[in-house]
């Protein structure tokens, strides 16, 4: 009980409230601006949080994460350009509804569904994270190794064009994590004589490069794209009767979103797509989907916001990122000197409650933002790209530099950005690479310790039923894309 009070007391301090509000506003802003995303904003803000106390800093980033998912729906509805990937499905019915003269209603439905999905998933989070952490306390290195391998295998089913390319990206991320002095033997690996690499590659410049610089270069190719903007005067909350008729859809999508969020590597985008498809499948008016039906808006919106809360469960309880954004929050935790995982929750339980409080606050703030600020946030899309992206570049340079006041980090950031652009062009996602980078140390340490425990006999790992369970899941997960490909081919012929 003390931990609950201590954690939630975070919300009683004015400075912390301001920080979380700042996180929410930045989140909605970057979510609303096409091209900018919450992972990018988290990557850019992380180096500056080093001056803050760890718990408020992480709470601010968590609030930003929630808000970024919501913010994307504003531009998805008003200009048919989803500000963030999780809002892609929202645009399918949100934009047609706005176009037929009901932008306020579309925004209202999206907001209420987001709040419901977000709050419901947080309730799951507050119970599931400590419970999962207690179970994970029993894990030894072999179980952790199997869990990390399973998490990496989930990259195969992450959103993106190709499972194979996601796995290669993840592998490269794990490889990047080997840069530096080998912990067991003290031997330098892949440092190429650069002393700054002795302690390993700094996460922050890589994250900024991949998410901000890579996107900047992609945006340079879309400067002439013209979008049709629909003006929204104010948000219109759904009526009680309408809400009652959508109750089932919201609850179902919230459950789906929370579950998908809890799965390692599966984030809000997958949740939104599944939420949309399930809303359509259960709908009595499924033929109207795509023309501006309310279920087509609340389905994906409840799911993608619920996934944000769900994704925090494995992130905090196991130290395994639930999505690309939570991988960045894990990187921030590591930067603040925490080792994410069950010990973090068991030794500092107030941490979980503080994150819960911040995300709860963020979800409630959506209502206020939707009611008061929807008009303003729809206007931010008018910011000219030829000023917006130079500003992003400036923040990227400062963010990378301030991580350790070293120009090497700026060079790393730029290199990561250039590589990120080409990776993106050829279908290799940045998020799997980041997941690999974050999980890399855990994989190597648990693998080495397991090999020592079992005297280099890899097959002895299978003695543990938990290891067997995770390896079985890994096998199923890796083989699924191939089976579905063959099944579809059979169906087509």
């Amino acid at each position: 009980m003390d931990a609950v009070i201590l954690g939630l007391s975070l919300l009683l301090e004015f400075d912390n409230i301001m920080l979380i509000t700042f996180g929410v506003l930045i989140g909605v802003l970057v979510g609303a601006l096409p091209g900018l995303s919450s992972p990018m904003a988290i990557a850019l803000l992380t180096p500056f949080t080093i001056q803050l106390e760890p718990i408020p800093a992480i709470a601010m980033l968590a609030a930003l994460y929630c808000a970024g998912t919501f913010g994307g729906s504003i531009t998805a509805i008003l200009i048919n350009a989803p500000g963030a990937p999780p809002s892609v499905a929202t645009a399918l019915d949100g934009y047609p509804m706005a176009k037929r003269g009901e932008p306020g209603r579309a925004l209202g439905l999206a907001t209420v569904a987001s709040v419901c999905g977000g709050v419901l998933s947080l309730i799951v989070f507050i119970f599931a994270a400590p419970a999962l952490a207690s179970v994970a306390l029993q894990f030894r290195p072999p179980e952790y190794f199997a869990l990390a391998v399973f998490a990496l295998s989930m990259l195969a089913s992450m959103t993106g064009k190709s499972s194979l390319r996601n796995l290669i990206s993840g592998g490269v991320g794990v490889l990047l994590a080997t840069i530096g002095i080998h912990l067991t033997t003290g031997i330098e690996r892949f440092t190429f004589g650069i002393p700054e690499f002795d302690d390993g590659i700094n996460f922050v410049p890589v994250l900024i490069g991949l998410f901000a610089m890579g996107e900047l270069l992609s945006q340079s190719g879309t400067l002439n794209k013209v979008v049709e903007r629909i003006h929204a005067k104010a948000m219109q909350l759904p009526t009680w009767a309408e809400l009652k008729s959508l109750k089932g859809c919201i609850l179902r999508s919230s459950g789906i979103g929370t579950f998908i969020g809890i799965l390692p590597a599966e984030g809000s985008t997958v949740a939104a797509i599944v939420g949309y498809n399930e809303a359509k499948r259960f709908s009595k008016v499924s033929h109207e989907f795509g023309t501006g039906t309310p279920e087509g808006i609340v389905g994906p919106e409840a799911a993608n916001n619920a996934a944000a809360g769900g994704a925090m469960v494995p992130t905090l309880a196991l130290g395994i990122p639930g999505s690309g954004s939570t991988a960045l929050i894990l990187a921030a935790l590591i930067m603040h000197g925490f080792r994410p995982g069950p010990y973090l929750i068991n030794e500092t339980p107030e941490f979980v409650y503080a994150i819960f409080g911040a995300m709860f606050f963020a979800n409630i703030a959506f209502l206020a933002i939707g009611l008061v600020g929807a008009k303003f946030f729809s206007l931010v899309t008018f910011v000219p790209k030829n000023f917006l992206w130079p500003a992003v570049f400036i923040f990227s340079v400062i963010g990378a530099y301030s991580a350790s006041s070293s120009f090497i980090d700026v060079y790393v950031m730029l290199t990561a950005g250039l590589i990120g652009y080409f990776m993106n062009r050829h279908g290799f996602g940045a998020a799997p690479l980041v997941m690999g980078l974050i999980l890399g140390k855990l994989v190597e340490e648990s693998f080495s310790q397991s090999m020592i425990i079992y005297d280099n006999n890899f097959f002895a790992l299978m003695e543990s039923p938990i290891v067997l369970f995770f390896f079985a899941l890994t096998f199923i997960n890796l083989s699924t894309p191939f089976w579905t490909g063959f099944r579809k081919q059979k169906a087509n012929t």
Binding site: I394, S448, G485
Partner: protein, 177 residues
């Protein structure tokens, strides 16, 4: 489960036109395999330690396993388009057009400005970015550019140096606030 909202799919005829081996992915595979080979060679130069001290896990073992896995996965890349086409995914959508000229210019600018950053110092670098990049990206009006280049970097430096205590390198010219 994602088919219902996917972008238009390529025709199977398109896949047949490409053939068994996707030429662009073949180049990508060769680049990855070259990198993997070079890094594998690099791992052979890692110092070895006594087996007892290393507890039978030499520092090169784990990266070598990873490189083999990455290389093995990359070998399938040139053939992957067959499976992706069957699934209705268009892997060439983003790369069908050549890289826009502005993107190439932007890359060159980013490299040049980052290379000069240590000499210029952070403040001058920010001013240079604010002056050149909007112009490069098609902003024709000089007044907004000048306003942006004077106000934005100064605000950023004041915010981060005074509020967040970030140290800004003044560079060789010693320009700082």
């Amino acid at each position: 489960m994602t088919e219902s909202i996917q972008t238009p799919t390529p025709s199977s005829g398109n896949a047949r036109a490409i053939g068994l081996v996707h030429p662009v992915d073949l180049v990508v595979t060769l680049i990855i395999l070259s990198g993997v080979s070079y890094l594998f060679y690099e791992t052979t130069t890692f110092a070895e330690v006594a087996p007892m001290f290393a507890q039978n896990i030499q520092p090169s073992m784990y990266p070598q396993i990873l490189l083999i896995i990455i290389g093995a996965l990359a070998v399938f890349l040139p053939f992957e388009h067959i499976l992706l086409t069957r699934k209705g995914k268009d892997i060439d959508k983003e790369r069908r057009d050549s890289i826009p000229r502005l993107t190439l210019f932007t890359m060159a600018f980013l490299i040049a400005i980052v290379a000069a950053a240590e000499t210029l110092g952070i403040l001058l670098t920010m001013i240079a970015i604010s002056l050149i990049m909007p112009r490069l990206w098609g902003q024709k009006k000089i007044v907004p550019i000048l306003m942006f280049a004077t106000v934005f970097p100064v605000l950023v430096v004041l915010l981060f140096s005074k509020v967040l205590s970030v140290y800004f390198d003044p560079g060789l010219f010693g320009v700082a606030l």
